[in-house]
């Protein structure tokens, strides 16, 4: 990442990505707490003074857009954005017990984006990144945690508040790691109980985790108590006071994290049992993986269109989730009508205005065979008759209602002076206002005159 950054010849080159990365890790360890999430904005805000200082040292004009680009590039690199956030892969050589060399690969993430409690996208450090930052490659999180807390306790008693604070920071890092570990176990078990050895492994892990968390809570209580006593006993001399306040804050965060974990662990057992019974009774819990692109989308594309439509329409609602059925509310309608015109976004174009008359909506209501009957009838029609009489006659001859409606519609269209769909050789004029009272329509009566048709005019 450093190499890529430095080989790019642009205005971000003067910044050292390694230095910025360490600062990002520090921010993530220090500021991720309950009710406090680290977002891109937090990182930008915290890095800004450093970037400004670097600019000032290099005699460069400070610019906010450059800082934003720096943060975006830095986080993009740490999250492996070029590979859509996949894990980093590092290959290395290893030697077996009989001195045989083999190539191994280590996959890891450094930072990931998560859906935060507040609904925002928050940043979270991976367990590997915490290890990297704390300079401890030992993965026994529990032992590390105990050791870190012992350091805090010990340094507090000796009055080395700076060292105690460093210990508290490390303890907090461990509590973040431990939380992720427990979260993973519970999630995996919830997903598919068969993937986890419930009887031995998961059960033991839960019991151990419970003991560990209870132990942590006891120790953390005592550390906080000691730090508060020290805080009350020393005069306000600046640095020491600040260190002690930081210790209380950090240990408080560890404690609330562990309290939550404790609660999660207490309910995990009943949750597992519930999942177990639910998964036992599911008809066929799939064991094979489903790759959305290759196992679902590709086969659907190869199906005949009507089968593909049936499948996609049957499952469409599963992609969207529940939606409240729409009910007309006059209040909402009025508010909607009063709202200002929506701003056109980039890429949007205004829909072309369609004249209702051009849409020919009435004609679209008529099926093709009904329309055909109607046209045949009107073609063969001769003489002079009122629309009301014509409709009575059609009714007497058991003409379908749809055809009656179509005839009425065509005659009305013909009467309209702007109408383009005239019927050949027919004149339609009004004879009596409100005289039409047929079974299916009322209004002004019209007279249909087809006398000219015989002469061909």
């Amino acid at each position: 990442m450093r190499h890529n950054w430095l080989t790019r010849d642009d205005d971000l080159k003067p910044y050292d990505p390694l230095c910025l990365t360490m600062k990002v890790f520090e921010i993530l360890i220090d500021q991720s707490g309950f009710g406090n999430e680290v977002t891109r904005e937090t990182i930008l805000r915290e890095l800004m003074p450093i970037l400004r200082a670097l600019d000032s040292a290099a005699g460069v004009e400070p610019r906010i857009d450059r800082y934003t680009r720096s943060v975006d590039r830095l986080l993009g690199g740490l999250m492996n954005d070029s590979q859509r956030g996949e894990s980093f892969m590092v290959e290395y050589s290893d030697f077996g017990p009989n001195q045989t060399a083999s190539r191994r690969s280590l996959s890891f993430k450094l930072i990931r984006e998560i859906h935060g409690y507040s609904g925002e996208i928050a940043l979270q450090m991976s367990s590997e990144a915490i290890n990297l930052f704390l300079n401890a490659l030992d993965l026994d999180i529990e032992s590390e945690q105990i050791a870190n807390e012992a350091v805090v306790q010990f340094q507090l008693q000796r009055g080395n508040f700076d060292k105690a604070r460093a210990g508290a920071e490390a303890a907090r890092g461990r509590s973040l790691q431990y939380e992720q570990k427990i979260h993973r176990i519970v999630e995996q078990t919830k997903r598919d109980i068969r993937q986890v050895d419930w009887r031995h492994e998961a059960h033991t892990a839960l019991v151990d985790a419970n003991d560990h968390v209870e132990g942590r809570l006891r120790i953390e209580e005592s550390v906080i108590r000691s730090a508060r006593q020290k805080l009350a006993s020393i005069a306000d001399d600046g640095d020491n006071h600040q260190s002690l306040r930081d210790i209380v804050r950090l240990m408080d965060d560890c404690r609330s994290r562990h309290l939550r974990l404790n609660k999660r662990l207490m309910t995990a057992r009943s949750e597992f049992i519930e999942q177990q019974s639910r998964q036992c009774f599911v008809e066929s819990l799939r064991t094979e993986p489903i790759n959305l692109r290759d196992d679902l989308l590709a086969p659907i594309l190869s199906l005949p269109s009507n089968d593909a439509v049936r499948i996609s329409e049957d499952t469409g609602h599963a992609f969207i989730g529940p939606v409240m059925p729409g009910v007309l509310s006059l209040h909402d309608l009025v508010l909607w009508q009063l709202q200002p015109k929506r701003i056109e976004l980039i890429g949007e174009s205004e829909a072309e205005k369609v004249e209702a008359i051009e849409a020919n909506v009435e004609r679209q209501r008529v099926d093709d065979d009904v329309s055909e009957h109607c046209e045949r009838f009107l073609e063969g029609f001769s003489g002079v008759v009122g629309l009301s009489d014509l409709l009575i006659r059609l009714e007497e001859h058991a003409c379908p209602e749809a055809v009656q409606d179509a005839v009425t519609l065509r005659v009305l269209e013909h009467f309209d002076p702007e109408d383009d769909h005239s019927i050949r050789g027919i004149n339609v004029t009004i004879i009596g206002p409100d005289d039409l009272h047929s079974k299916r329509c009322t209004g002004d009566d019209l007279v249909i005159d087809a006398l000219n048709r015989a002469t061909g005019n």
Binding site: G119, I300, A318, V323
Partner: protein
């Protein structure tokens, strides 16, 4: 203590109501947060909420401190009907393209099982209309390559709706612009954009603008929806069709000859997928 109190049903209804608001977050709503805690803590309350949801044709997909996430059963009043999503357009081709786009959006974000299996709260990177279009066009190109010997489909086959779905998608332009230089809704990218905008309205995506490029990021709700419901439902619906194709392959004289004496058990599904579906990464 049984945990059932006088207000249990009322509170269960309140929790379902909160869950039906896609943009409500427990972090901002103390009542929602308390009800989630109660759901996690009290098995009896959990049971009432489940029954309540069941009665409404809803299914509880997941619950965590980010919310209670619901899915719908086919007959639920809360299930979106295909024509509601389409907004009036209803030709067979339109219906097909709508379905393909919906699936392709999910497949672009979560192409593999492991993408869905990763930590449930991990946020996936945003996608663009172009990326979704590319996912579909790559697959279409692969199908086209495989069917070079039958480039045209008879009119009868098209009229009967027996033309393969990829041919319909492939025949539409990917990107067509209007006179004002905007994306035409008649192009596939325009259609994808319309679907993403709909999903945005339903709280399944949030939009980010990077220069002139619109990027759509899936929300946790969408992630859970796909992982816990859509993927498996789609698979279940597709399975009978896969079985049908497999049996056709098995019954063809060439397949019978090729498979004679071979152990077929367990290999059929893969043979179908390899023959009809799986796309090699290098080809893609």
């Amino acid at each position: 203590m049984s945990g059932i109190t006088d207000d249990t049903s009322f509170q269960a209804g309140r929790l379902i109501q909160w869950a039906l608001r896609p943009k409500a977050i427990p972090f901002n709503e103390p009542e929602y947060r308390e009800l989630i805690d109660r759901f996690v803590d009290q098995p009896s309350f959990r049971a009432v909420v489940r029954q309540f949801a069941e009665g409404l044709g809803l299914v509880i997909l997941d619950v965590n401190d980010r919310g209670l996430f619901l899915g719908t059963r086919d007959d639920s009043v809360f299930a979106v009907k295909p024509n509601e999503f389409r907004g009036g357009r209803g030709s067979a081709e339109d219906r097909l393209l709508d379905g393909l786009v919906q699936i392709a959006i999910a497949a672009t974000i979560y192409p593999r099982q492991q993408d869905l299996d990763e930590d449930s709260i991990e946020a996936k990177p945003p996608i663009t209309c172009q990326e979704v279009d590319e996912t579909l066009r790559r697959l279409c190109a692969e199908f086209k390559r495989r069917s070079e010997d039958e480039p045209d489909v008879p009119i009868d086959t098209i009229e009967q709706g027996l033309q393969e779905a990829w041919r319909v998608y492939e025949s539409r332009p990917g990107l067509k612009t209007t006179q004002q230089g905007n994306i035409s809704p008649n192009s596939t990218q325009g259609l994808i954009r319309r679907h993403l905008q709909e999903l945005l309205d339903h709280g399944c995506f949030v939009m980010l603008q990077q220069g002139t490029t619109e990027m759509y990021r899936p929300t946790l709700r969408y992630q859970i929806q796909i992982r816990e419901l859509a993927a498996s439902k789609l698979y279940d619906k597709l399975r009978p069709f896969i079985d049908k194709v497999e049996s056709r392959i098995d019954q063809s004289p060439t397949a019978l000859a090729a498979n004679a004496g071979a152990d077929r058990a367990g290999s059929n599904r893969h043979s179908y997928v390899e023959n009809a579906g799986r796309i090699d990464e290098e080809n893609a």
